[in-house]
């Protein structure tokens, strides 16, 4: 589903964020990427939805080589990948419902379809009753659920989440992780970037650890390796 082949990334003038990263994630997997701050985790995530391009190497999504993706193709890629961030990235002047609907608006979906799909995904994330609320009227965990709903609304095959629990307390974080696990159970590939030891250890899933821009370990049913 996601293949990195010897990917390097250099931010000018001379930060080598990634130095030859290779891995392969199969459809339906749940993979955590961990590593110390600055080890290149976010860079890996950004490359998957083409916010950054590799300096060298190859990235395949399915069998689509996105290493040199054209500008016009980026929206097509992004409608197939759901992204979730630490800071939620919700629009404060839109309700939860509108925030989710926005992703469909942008893709030119019909109002009818929007009215069908949005309540459905809000229900999946457990916010069926709170669609009319504005982000400021929601707790952090609820806001993150809205952003997950927005990521799901295109029915993506892949969800990429960069520190989705970074702003949440431990209990809320665990709830969000349960949500991701459930989404993964439906068959969606989940790529989770995190440096939260408890979360990684609680998942019992594959863990890829980065160190200085390289894969330092890649283990099935892995553990958080750093101290």
């Amino acid at each position: 589903m996601i293949t990195f082949k010897n990917v390097t990334k250099e931010y000018p003038p001379k930060t080598h964020a990634l130095a030859g990263v290779s891995f392969r994630i199969n459809a339906g997997e749940f993979v955590s990427i961990t590593g110390q701050s600055g080890s290149g985790k976010s860079t890996v995530a950004k490359m998957i939805f083409a916010e950054e391009r590799p300096t060298s190497g190859q990235i395949l999504i399915g069998d689509w080589d996105i290493s040199k993706i054209g500008r016009a193709d980026i929206p097509i890629l992004r409608r197939q990948i759901g992204v979730v961030f630490q800071d939620f990235k919700l629009l404060p002047k839109k309700t939860a419902f509108e925030n989710v609907a926005f992703a469909l608006h942008v893709a030119g979906e019909s109002g009818k379809r929007i009215r069908e799909v949005v309540p459905h995904v809000l229900k999946i994330v457990g916010l069926a009753e709170k669609g009319h609320r504005y982000p400021r009227q929601l707790s952090g965990g609820e806001q993150q659920r809205v952003s997950i709903a927005r990521a799901l609304v295109h029915r993506p095959k892949i969800i990429v989440a960069d520190e989705p629990t970074g702003n949440l307390d431990a209990i809320t974080a665990r709830e969000i992780m349960e949500l991701f696990t459930r989404i993964n159970d439906f068959g969606t590939t989940v790529l989770l970037v995190t440096h939260d030891r408890d979360i990684v250890n609680g998942l019992h899933k594959r863990v890829i650890t980065l160190r200085d821009g390289k894969v330092s370990s890649d283990a099935e049913k892995g553990k958080y390796l750093l101290t």
Binding site: I74, P75, V83, L91, F102, V106, A107
Partner: protein
């Protein structure tokens, strides 16, 4: 199509959210248009005045008293044969005298002098009008032939020529002045549009970021800003048309009265030319706005 309506809505929203910026932008557009229309109106008025003054210019050719009626009549038909000549009217010696007395009726010295002389000191005359005042030198030159010259006592311009020149110069200068002003305002307008779009991009940066993340294409992101500048042009042109319509409605009687006898109907002029004229003004504004917006987006909107 659906996407198109969403783009329109987004553009409207952006304009309303930055109401004062939109207001300033439209105002400067309107200022630009006001100067442009001032040039247009000035042109219309100046052309009408020049035409009307030109139409009044006439040259009177006085014949000696020994010239026969036939000589004068043949001069008249000779002049009428010239393509530059509009018409030539014949004035008998008696009529010339009556007219002379009429113009000088408040001048007892001249009238007294006239009484001293026996008989009619004035001869016959021809009054010549030309299609174009500039052709008079040629027409008068044409009379310098041995056939007619000996009978011609005097040729007299009523002195509109210098007035025409003054009028021409004056309207030319004002026109250039307003054109410079229009260019100046146009330039300011572009700067302001640039800034407005820059601020609009800034205000929407969050939204734009999210739009990109969820897979909006370029056109969906850029469209609203381009549309916004077209809206500004449209609104400004509409306001300008309103200003012109109301001002002319109230001012037209005064303008007509002021230019007595000159055929200046600005209302008619604007109503017959409204579509192409305001169309062109809208077109130019929209073009300027789009170009500036495209430029602002290149700088501030990385898609």
């Amino acid at each position: 199509m659906r996407t198109f309506f969403r783009i329109i809505r987004f553009a409207m929203q952006s304009m309303l959210r930055n109401f004062w910026l939109s207001f300033v932008t439209v105002s400067v557009f309107v200022l630009t248009l006001i100067t442009v229309n001032a040039v247009i109106i000035l042109n219309v008025l100046a052309n009408a005045s020049v035409k009307s003054v030109e139409g009044r210019v006439q040259v009177t050719v006085y014949f000696t008293s020994d010239a026969s009626v036939d000589t004068v009549k043949s001069t008249q038909s000779y002049l009428l044969g010239l393509s530059q000549v509009k018409d030539v009217s014949y004035v008998t010696a008696e009529d010339a005298l009556i007219a002379f007395k009429e113009t000088h009726k408040s001048d007892p010295v001249i009238l007294g002098a006239l009484d001293e002389v026996d008989g009619n000191p004035l001869g016959q005359a021809l009054k010549i009008r030309a299609y174009n005042a500039a052709d008079f030198p040629f027409i008068l030159e044409a009379l310098e032939t041995p056939e007619y010259a000996p009978f011609i006592k005097d040729k007299n311009y009523n002195n509109y020529e210098s007035a025409l020149k003054v009028l021409g110069n004056f309207s030319e200068k004002i026109r250039i002045g307003f054109l410079v002003l229009a260019l100046f305002f146009g330039f300011i307008a572009m700067l302001i549009v640039f800034n407005t779009i820059r601020v609009a991009i800034y205000v929407h940066r969050e939204e734009i970021g999210v739009m990109k993340l969820v897979g909006a294409n370029d056109w969906f992101i850029r469209g609203p800003f381009l549309l916004e500048s077209i809206f500004y042009a449209f609104i400004a042109t509409g306001i300008m048309a309103g200003i012109i319509a109301t001002t002319l409605r109230f001012a037209n009687p005064y303008i007509v009265a002021f230019f007595q006898g000159v055929d200046v109907d600005l209302v008619a002029y604007y109503s017959t030319n409204a579509l192409p004229m305001f169309g062109a003004q809208f077109g130019i504004l929209a073009f300027l706005g789009l170009a500036t917006t495209a430029f602002a987006m290149r700088r501030y909107l990385r898609v």
